[in-house]
């Protein structure tokens, strides 16, 4: 359960993996996972392979990450969403804001 961040300096990318329920309780750890990334071109991958659930406050957290990267849709990829999680992202049409695999 929780959020882990893994930095890949070579590719200048941070992989943020969410495990379990992605909801308001992850608010702080999710922000901590990216707030110290400095590079202007650092890319983020939000890996939802192990996320069982995603609610509207999680959508809000993704919007904050989007704001952090200056609203560049190419700098945040969302991948690995299971069927339920993908449906929430689809209904919110977040593929218009992020690169959703």
């Amino acid at each position: 359960m929780g959020v882990t961040a893994r930095s890949d300096a070579e590719k200048s990318q941070v992989i943020i993996s969410v495990d379990g329920r992605f909801d308001f309780s992850q608010h702080k750890v999710f922000r901590d996972a990216y707030k110290d990334a400095t590079g202007k071109s650092t890319k983020f991958v939000v890996d939802l392979t192990d996320a069982s659930y995603l609610d509207s406050s999680a959508l809000g957290m993704l919007l904050l990450l989007r704001e952090f990267v200056g609203s560049d849709p190419k700098r945040v990829r969302i991948r690995g969403a299971n069927e339920d999680v993908a449906r929430v992202l689809k209904i919110a049409n977040f593929d218009k804001l992020f690169t959703v695999d």
């Binding site: 509207s56 406050s57 959508l59 809000g60 957290m61 919007l63 904050l64 704001e67 689809k90 209904i91 919110a92 049409n93 977040f94 218009k96 804001l97």
Partner: protein
């Protein structure tokens, strides 16, 4: 543990258990319990030296009596006592002193893990092995006193917090009344709509707005602001203002959405947004414009089948401007086409086993929905049965619209605007008097209110009878509850308002019923029993058979039925 056989040292007290009322020492009062009198005396001396006034006991029963009578600040107990053993005494002392923290130190002969675990499980805060050592006892006492002080500091600081919370709730309730009036007061009432809204908390983050358009058409906005409570509702106010003002002026859908989007983008924090479904039906009833940004699919049942109106746009308040791909879409419609809108709280409501209502169950209802029929009553009843009165985790909104001429005369049914020849009659009845409403003819007839309405009075009577049946339904009414029948508790009064509105050819009865139970237990979701929700479903179902529209407003605690001819 055993009676001492020999004693060396200073003479024993005549009887260590028969101590006279001790003066409280500077450190407080301690209860010392041991069946070995020599040990007991030693323990007493040590505690006194630390500054305690000491109360003693030699068995469990006596220990509990002393504890109840003297309320000591600390208890030191031999783990093994004759009769009721020390572990059990410790457990009872803990349950007697739940409100304040009284540390218990157990004395054991053996320091093995099992004995220690037994002491701690019984609520012991610490333990000591015999023989007693003054230094060790003193150390244990200091440690437990630290716990006690921490505990006291915590409970002292949480008391004002409770008060604050209570005041906060009161203010929320007040703010809620102000907000709902501001947001809902301008909604138009129309027979074409059946709707239901319920809140998980006092404030409802789900918004349901209706307004007439200058061409006689109708515009509906169902929206869900992220989060619940006050934060969610504050964003609703500017949305409601913009929606109503622009609909009355006839501003087109896209411009309204753009304006609401701008307002929300400016007011909401970056992680908040509003999912919304907006629908406009032209005054000729032939064209429907829809826009879905982040809401569950809406459903249109036409002659040709079922059409899904899936989310095609981003929610509002996310981007500064709506992207061109997010424009509203249009469909042609005909009389008796039905539209169903819902918020995700409907799909996510869980039953006692944690299973959601879900798309699958909704699908079953949609597939059984035939053209020209109403779905609302049966769907709501099934939903109520599913969640069996369990508490709501999310706000809920459900709406059904039937396209047809009824759309157009919506604004003529404003409360309080009695037209020539129309009338309104209301009554508040205690539960024991409610049955006197019947026969209704005998009540309204002598007033001359049914003159010329004889043909319709039978239906009116039947509608009222349905409302009355739900009022006395099992679980709330006096007929089934002996304590109420015996007059033990005064049940809530039943309020009935009947309006007659003459129309160019025919007329309408608008019947409103409310009592505390309608809004309270059915809406809060906490106290509703399955029988309540079934009663609600049945009433709405049978009223739909009789009426052109039925509206159940949980917020106002009201059921309203429109019967027109």
């Amino acid at each position: 543990m055993q009676f001492s056989t020999m004693h060396i040292g200073p003479p024993l007290d005549a009887d260590p258990t028969a101590s006279s009322e001790p003066e409280t020492g500077w450190r407080g009062k301690a209860l010392a319990v041991d069946d070995d009198l020599a040990n007991l005396r030693l323990l007493r001396r040590m505690l006194e030296r630390m500054g305690f006034a000491v109360v003693t006991a030699t068995n469990g029963v006596e220990a509990l009596e002393q504890f109840a009578a003297r309320r000591p600040d600390l208890a030191v107990l031999d783990a093994v006592l004759p009769g009721m053993d020390g572990i059990e005494v410790g457990r009872r002392i803990k349950s007697m002193s739940a409100a304040e923290f009284v540390p218990i130190i157990f004395l054991t002969a053996l320091a093995d893990a099992a004995s220690i675990m037994g002491c701690i499980r019984a609520g012991g805060d610490d333990f000591l092995t015999k023989p007693l050592s003054f230094k060790l006892l003193q150390a244990r006492v200091i440690i437990t006193e630290r716990f006690r002080d921490l505990q006291r500091a915590m409970s002292a600081s949480s008391e004002p917090l409770h008060e604050l919370l209570e005041r906060e709730h009161e203010e929320q309730r007040l703010a809620e009344r102000v907000f709902s009036r501001a947001i809902n007061s301008r909604n138009v009432e129309t027979q074409a709509i059946n709707s239901m809204r319920r809140s998980a908390t006092t404030f409802n983050g789900d918004l349901l707005l209706t307004q007439s358009l200058p061409d006689g058409g109708l515009r509906i906005l169902m929206a869900d602001i992220t989060g619940h409570g006050l934060g969610a509702t504050i964003g609703a106010l500017p949305v409601a203002e913009a929606f109503h003002a622009m609909a009355i002026k006839g501003v087109d859908d896209l411009q309204v959405l753009e304006e609401i989007n701008r307002k929300l983008y400016a007011t909401l924090p970056a992680d908040r947004f509003m999912a919304a479904f907006m629908v406009s039906i032209a005054g000729n009833g032939r064209r429907l414009t829809w826009w879905n940004g982040g809401m569950p699919s809406g459903w249109l049942r036409s002659r040709h089948g079922l059409k899904e109106l899936a989310s095609h746009a981003l929610p509002l308040g996310v981007l500064t401007e709506l992207p061109p791909s997010d424009a509203p879409r249009a469909l042609s419609v005909q009389d008796d086409d039905g539209l169903l809108l819902l918020s995700d709280g409907v799909l996510e409501a869980v039953d006692s086993k944690g299973a959601t209502f879900g798309d699958g169950r909704l699908r079953q209802h949609l597939e059984a929905w035939s053209h020209g029929e109403r779905l609302f009553g049966s769907l709501l009843a099934a939903w109520e049965r599913h969640r069996e009165g369990s508490a709501l985790e999310d706000d809920v909104a459900l709406l059904e619209l039937v396209i047809g001429p009824a759309l157009l005369d919506s604004t003529e049914l404003e409360i309080g605007q009695a037209r020539p020849g129309g009338w309104r009659w209301s009554v508040e009845l205690g539960s024991e008097q409610a049955e006197r409403l019947f026969p209704l003819k005998a009540v309204l007839g002598p007033l001359g209110l049914l003159d010329g309405l004889e043909a319709q009075s039978q239906v009116l009577e039947e509608i009222l009878r349905q409302l009355y049946l739900s009022y006395v339904a099992p679980g709330r009414g006096l007929q089934s509850d002996p304590s109420l029948a015996a007059g033990a508790i005064a049940p809530d009064p039943l309020n009935i308002l009947i309006r007659f509105e003459p129309l160019p050819s025919g007329g309408c009865f608008i019947i409103q019923a409310h009592w505390r139970g309608v809004g309270d237990s059915w809406s809060s979701g906490h106290s509703a029993s399955p029988s309540d929700s079934e009663a609600l479903g049945q009433v709405l179902g049978s009223l739909e058979q009789l009426c052109r529209s039925v509206r159940y407003d949980a917020g106002k605690g009201m059921i309203e039925a429109h019967y027109c001819w």
